[in-house]
């Protein structure tokens, strides 16, 4: 009973934190106090937060290493853009169109995750890491050779070369290596915020459910879990597909924020970047992922005054943060503060501290 209280309280704190940040940012924006640089980054930050939280489900909760999370983002991005463009005339109401595009992106990325997961999640060891790594590259390659066009007769697909032969007035939605061009950016911060909340809701509810406990049991001891009758592949797939689908929705949000998207954007480096968010925020720690994703997205831009030393400073800051958060004395210091606070609040509220880190 006590454990439940603790987790649900920290979950509610996370929701509350996200909502407060959103309200504050909206208020500041209304007052004109937000620079264009930050304003322009709000949507990508939301997308990265969702990416980080969803990857955390695979890496932190399921305990499998995925190195191709950007591949799912890519699948979601391009299928979402195709959906949004196709629905342009049918649904003039923009938020609904964006929402439907995200759903399409999520479903298709989820299907991709399912297909990958079926053979791979049956295996033991680090196979998922290798396969997801390959998956990301394959997706990049496929989209670089995929042509999708839309005209009066509907959607047309061609592969390797552009043989769409569109009617008058038709437009190429995905042009192979050109990616998406001339897209109408419709993503908004509000949409991103709602997606973050939905993601948190899905992830928290999954983790705190019967299935979630089964997933964590698989992570902690596969043999023990198997011996009590947990269907390992099923629960692994459940977590992995959820994670892929959320990444797909994030991909749609991200893609619909720019007029142009290319498949090369979602490469290995992006996958690693998201993994960095997760590791820096703490495995299995959702609010850590949120903060890390937001901070590490803003940081390179905030460091622009260092001009060409920017990425050097970025690396130094990363290393310092890693060292600082792993430093036993600093940890003891923070734990001390936590203990004092707890002491003040009373005995009941024990433990919304660092414990969840590991």
């Amino acid at each position: 009973m006590k454990a439940l209280n603790k987790t649900s309280r920290s979950n509610f704190l996370t929701y509350a934190g996200v909502i407060i940040v959103f309200v504050v940012l909206q208020a500041v924006m209304a007052g004109g106090g937000l620079s264009s640089m930050l304003k322009g980054q709000l949507v990508p930050i939301c997308a990265y937060v969702v990416m980080a939280v969803s990857l955390n489900l695979t890496v932190g909760v399921l305990g499998e290493l995925s190195l191709g999370h950007a591949g799912f983002m890519s699948v979601g991005a391009f299928s979402g853009v195709v959906a949004a463009v196709s629905l342009q005339d049918a649904i003039p109401f923009v938020p609904l169109r964006l929402g439907l595009a995200m759903v399409v992106g999520a479903i298709i990325a989820g299907v991709a995750g399912f297909l990958i997961g079926i053979p791979v999640l049956r295996l033991k060891g680090d196979y998922l890491a290798i396969v997801t790594l390959a998956f990301g590259e394959i997706i990049k390659s496929i989209i670089n050779n995929l042509y999708v066009g839309l005209d009066g007769r509907g959607l047309h697909f061609s592969f390797l070369s552009d043989t769409l032969e569109l009617e008058e007035g038709g437009r190429t939605v995905i042009g192979g290596p050109m990616g998406v061009s001339g897209n109408m950016p419709i993503s908004t911060f509000t949409a991103g915020f709602i997606l973050v909340l939905i993601t948190l809701f899905v992830v928290f509810n999954l983790v705190n459910s019967r299935s979630g406990r089964a997933i964590m049991a698989v992570r902690d001891n596969r043999i023990a879990a198997e011996s009590v009758g947990i269907n390992i592949t099923k629960y692994k797939l459940m977590a992995f597909v959820t994670s892929a689908a959320l990444a797909g929705a994030a991909g749609t949000l991200f893609a619909m924020n720019y007029s142009t998207v290319v498949a090369n954007k979602f490469d290995f480096n992006t996958s690693i970047l998201i993994l960095v968010f997760v590791v820096l925020g703490g495995l299995g720690n959702m609010w850590g992922s949120i903060i890390a994703a937001a901070a590490l997205t803003i940081l390179p831009e905030a460091l622009r005054q260092f001009s060409e030393y920017r990425m050097l400073v970025y690396a130094i800051v990363l290393i310092l943060v890693m060292l600082a958060t792993n430093n036993p004395q600093l940890r003891a210091f923070f734990a001390g503060i936590g203990a004092k606070l707890r002491g003040r609040r009373g005995k009941d509220s024990q433990g919304e501290g660092e414990a969840s880190h590991e």
Binding site: S35, S141, N145, D162, A263, E301
Partner: protein, 411 residues
Amino acid sequence: MKKSRILSLAMAGALCIGLLAGCGSSNDSGDAQSPAPATGSPEVSGTPAGDTTASTSGAAFKLGGTGPLTGAASIYGLAAQHGAEIAVEEINAMGGIQFELRYEDDVHDAEKAVNAYNTLKDWGMQISLGSVTSKPGEATSVYNYQDRIFALTPSASSTAVIEGKDNVFQMCFTDPNQGMASAQYIAEQKLGSKISIIWKNDDVYSKGIRDTFVAEAETRGLEIVYEGTFADGNDTDFNVQLTESQKAGADLIFLPMYYTPASLILSQANAMGYAPKFFGVDGMDGILTLDGFDTALAEGVMLLTPFNADAEDEATQSFVTKYQEKYGDIPNQFAADAYDCVYAYKLALETAGCTPDMTAEEICNKLIEVFPTITLTGLTGDGAGITWDSTGAVSKSPKGMVIQSGAYVGM
């Protein structure tokens, strides 16, 4: 023991950051660099990137641009930045219209380009040099259009950059334009009858040129015997494509790509003893200054480029000399295009009678009217000068160049 380690670590970190902060702030203060005299004595070399060539008068047009100043494509971004800096210095030294230039890094990525653009907007950019490369250019030009900040991009050559935007103009040819011009040139000069194309199929630039080249080659009766592709990640070994070209009997290989892979193709063709004619486009420009590249391999390579660093005219000579003094290498067409952009702005602002106290939108509206009417005699246009139509596309003729003994010679 541990405490001292933490302390030393913190100190080292603080030192690093302090050092770099010092660097950064001296850039921003602007007074570190007064406008150089037009004669351009070798100035403080190694001026940091992102440096602003600020005028001290305080009544300058704020001119901003984004480009890849770091990363794989940085040679283009840095060239454009350097070219623009030289133009700004010259113009500021002349008196009259003053510019304050700021370039921000976009790492050749659309997302970062939008961030860079927003940073410039926060800085108060009034007129924009767009982005140096195509995809970032597409992303930022949408914001240029929305925010009504006029843009003239030196080298973002994709048609999507200017499409449907009344206030975004280009200084370079569009990609399709280059493919067509290349095919025309090859057909007219009868340079080859059996043509092989090697192109990069995950690159907008390469694909744009290749598509129109193929279409134009068909109408001109050129025979394309082989097409080989490559992509990021497998762009180091071209033996397959070259062997296939050889088997197909190609006597001319068309290389619509940037010069890094092109240099490998040249050396691998040489190693296998295959010597067709090579024909490149403006991305090939820069191959002669590539580190560790034996320029003898490029002997006889032909390319279409708007700029020739060996041209005899005075303007080009003085630009090349200044560029070499300041940055130590020979400027490529990206530098020349950016240089021309700044001069085009000067001409247009003078014609329109704009003043630095006007808002970006006012300047934008005037420039939209003025740009299609002006004719600029720049480094990258030949005698006829450079003009624009109201869609934003440039009209100037490409120059055919051939590489002879390590230098470009006009064909």
